[in-house]
């Protein structure tokens, strides 16, 4: 499944300063019929985040203060971790935890 991931607000520094990543993630594993944000976050942590993963994640979700937009829409409206992703979705992560 092809997805476009974007990192902003400083998060790009955790993945080699690359802001936009066009990625291919594995189709859902057996037993799970959908690829969710939860799976995506685990995938990002393993495959894209090169340093200080604690700046991006806390537990199995993003760190509080990181905004997530799925196709331009606040992920709080689509069920956060349970949001189901589909082919060609665009997921944006923006950190608001910048320094002063």
């Amino acid at each position: 499944m092809q997805l476009t991931l974007e990192f902003g607000g400083g998060l790009e520094l955790l993945c080699d300063s690359v802001k936009i990543h066009n990625v291919n993630v594995d189709p859902p594993q057996d037993g799970e019929d959908k690829f969710t944000m939860k799976s995506l976050l685990a995938w990002v942590r393993t495959n894209l985040i090169k340093e200080r993963p604690e700046m991006f994640m806390k537990g199995d979700s993003v760190r509080p203060g990181v905004l997530v937009l799925v196709n331009d829409c606040d992920w709080e409206l689509s069920g956060q971790l349970d949001t189901t992703l589909e082919e060609k979705d665009v997921v944006v992560f923006i950190s608001t935890l910048h320094g002063g």
């Binding site: 902003g8 790009e12 936009i20 905004l67 949001t83 944006v92 608001t96 935890l97 320094g99 002063g100």
Partner: protein
């Protein structure tokens, strides 16, 4: 890119619910303040009109006033200029999202001033701290863009939205104090550098505002910032600052009062606002915007409070407004002796001490004793500090040193 945005699948909208304000369009975000699910169009409207209400209800401005918009850091400024001149941007230019607050503030102020006939003369005020990489290369960009900004003054955004070319003033630490932050860090190291930067910045904005001969200075401090400051002041036991950090206007007794129109605005909304403002987010994405933390800030104490606030927000978004409310309701016993605000003997800036903080720090730097004035010193300079405090008779409650408290 525009087409790409057009085919964005409107599937994930909370089970087909509609915007809770207009009941017509699909919601795009959940408001932290009210938990309402609203669409982009309603979001612009409520975001801007809430700030308008705050301005009107608190009588922040009077017609004819000259107002400086403090872009605390200058980085926000580059972002601002690029934002309004995106058609001319070459990709290698950097845009700093970091200080998006002051950028959104400049835009919203300019827009409301026009829409509601505030009759204000607006100016942009920016500070160059002298931090390499953070800004160095970008200063030229700002200068280059200044001309463009005025040319683009009438450029229409999103139909009726237009940005008037606001005059820009950049003041630098080097000019004001003779030191850049890079030079200070070389001497002081990374432990207390934020003290210098914060103290110097606050004065720099005031001095810049004085040069512009403005009546007031507005800053982009948002609800999250203020809640964070309330917590910090409690943790530090700084009653003097706690009692004034929630005021929407401060320094009314001084030459240039400051106010915070974003006092009740959540950072989440401020960050989302520009994403939605450009007519397509795709346009925004095409900008090669760049954002970073201050390269010296990873050690900043404030970060811990910020993280805590964000944790609270996730559990219960209202917590931010509730903390502000608690700060507002805080009263100091009338028998408590508070520091008297006077003026610095050396530079005339407002100070509760004989010398203002910037002068103490600067004196330390210039005399090769950079630790002077940092923390509660027990070193060779301790006596001198104590002496100064006693001379002011304010030993009971003092504003403790903290550079990043920019209120």
């Amino acid at each position: 890119m525009e087409e790409e945005a057009g085919v964005v699948k409107p599937k994930k909208n909370g089970g087909g619910r509609l915007c809770s304000l207009c009941n017509q369009r699909r919601p795009a975000l959940k408001r932290p303040k009210t938990l309402e699910q609203i669409c982009k169009e309603c979001f612009y409207t409520v975001f801007e009109e809430e700030i308008h209400r705050v301005i009107v209800d608190n009588q922040l401005f009077k017609p004819g006033e000259r107002i400086a918009i403090g872009a605390s850091g200058g980085k926000g400024f580059i972002y601002l200029l690029l934002w309004f001149s995106y058609r001319r941007i070459s990709n290698e230019l950097l845009v700093y999202l970091n200080l998006v607050d002051s950028t959104v503030l400049a835009y919203v102020m300019s827009e409301l001033n026009r829409r509601h006939n505030y009759g204000l003369d607006l100016f942009l005020l920016s500070v160059d701290e002298g931090i390499t990489g953070y800004r160095d290369d970008s200063l030229e960009t700002v200068k280059r863009n200044e001309i463009q900004a005025s040319e683009l003054g009438q450029m229409s955004m999103k139909g009726s939205r237009s940005m008037y070319g606001l005059p820009l003033k950049v003041v630098s630490y080097k000019d004001l104090y003779g030191w850049t932050m890079d030079e200070i860090v070389k001497i002081i190291g990374l432990k207390n550098n934020c003290t210098f930067c914060g103290v110097f910045r606050r004065q720099a904005l005031d001095r810049g505002a004085a040069l512009l001969k403005v009546d007031k200075l507005v800053t982009g401090h948002n609800a999250d910032d203020i809640a964070e400051t309330v917590l910090l002041n409690i943790l530090r036991g700084d009653i003097a600052r706690l009692s004034r950090c929630t005021s929407i206007t401060t320094g009314e007794e001084g030459p240039i009062p400051r106010c915070k129109p974003f006092k009740y605005t959540y950072e989440k909304e401020i960050v989302i606002y520009p994403c939605h403002l450009l007519f397509t987010y795709a346009y925004f994405k095409r900008l090669d915007y760049f954002s970073t933390e201050c390269i010296y800030s990873p050690n900043a104490y404030r970060g811990f409070a910020r993280e805590f606030i964000k944790d609270l927000e996730r559990l219960r978004p209202r917590a931010i407004l509730d903390i502000i409310k608690s700060g507002e309701d805080f009263r100091i016993s009338t028998s408590t002796k508070m520091p008297e605000q006077g003026t610095c003997e050396r530079c005339g800036y407002i100070s509760s001490q004989k010398w203002c903080k910037a002068c103490v720090l600067l004196d330390g730097l210039n005399r090769g004793l950079p630790k002077l004035g940092i923390g509660r010193s027990r070193g060779p300079n301790g006596d001198r500090q104590r002496e100064m405090k006693e001379s002011n008779g304010t030993r009971n409650i003092q504003s403790k040193q903290c550079g990043t408290l920019d209120f």
